[in-house]
Subunit: 151 residues, 2 copies
DNA sequence: TCAATAATTGTATATTTTTGCATGTTTTTT
DNA sequence: AAAAAACATGCAAAAATATACAATTATTGA
């Protein structure tokens, strides 16, 4: 099912970008984005994504991705945890990251991407990933998913 | 009142030692430790302590001290991946990070540092951390170490 | 393809957490 | 020391979140 993974992606992006204080609130935003679901489903989505209600520095509630935005160096495998979503436009991949981490993660992708990655450009929370010609979306997705890890 | 801070302390200890999945459960443990309070009070205590309900790797709920996103404890060893070093010059702290991660980590410090941190400036792999006047090196070190963590 | 199996979702409901309010207690101010 | 202000707490109610169950939709394998 396509709907679901797209929705999960969107949820991750929203949560990492704006302050969301309750599921109802997030539900509203998702509705504005064109998704139709109930709070029950959202609750399950959040559980799958390990997004939990935390407290920000002012003591207000805020939903947050619980995985630290870091590289997991265990076992020689490099795994990037800070990336929130990946989507293609044409043959260009756009990765959204936790704010501030784009350039760091982009560097990792350059490092690890090998032949398949022609280059990357990073803003603050967005990375443009340009694959080398001849590599399919599927291949790039697989490569990056591997770096990122799955949900 | 002495009772309260002692209780908060105990809560922190319990939560960091054993798996607590709900406030009721924690309440039971606290009662066994000789404290007498209601779930309502406990809820407020947890809020003060910024202890929130998160999801562990198996998908079960677990209360946790808000965790610094800086480190990865793979294989029992504590490994600081984002931040490499911390040193003072005068009352200014300089943190070295993995290339590209400085601004991301600086943002975390701003987020989590509370009153003690006046501000941060990030380059590519270096963060300047300016403590608020009145905070000692030791305090800042403790704070940042805590953020960086010894999980 | 079709039946069997698994996954996803909504509804209704249960569970859990948060909070308004009243009250008692401690601390501060005068 | 009395009054005022600030803080802590329980109770009850509200709000938020999670889940059992049943229906629906997708997926798998012969």
């Amino acid at each position: 099912m396509k709907e679901k993974s797209s929705r999960l992606n969107t949820i991750r992006e929203i949560v990492s970008r704006q302050k969301i204080g309750s599921q109802e609130e997030l539900l509203t935003v998702l509705t504005e984005h064109g998704y139709s679901l109930t709070q029950a489903t959202l609750s399950r989505d959040l559980k799958r994504l390990k997004i939990t209600k935390t407290l920000d520095s002012t003591g207000a509630y805020q939903y947050k991705l619980s995985e630290p935005p870091f590289l997991n160096g265990g076992g020689g495998e490099v795994q990037i945890i800070g990336a929130n979503s990946l989507e293609f436009s044409g043959n260009i991949a756009v990765m959204k990251t936790r704010k501030g981490y784009a350039s760091g993660i982009a560097a990792e992708i350059d490092d690890e991407g090998g032949d398949a990655i022609l280059g990357t450009i990073a803003g603050d929370d967005t990375i443009l990933i340009i694959p080398r010609e001849g590599y399919s979306r599927a291949e790039i997705t697989a490569l990056l998913s591997n770096l990122i890890g799955t949900n």
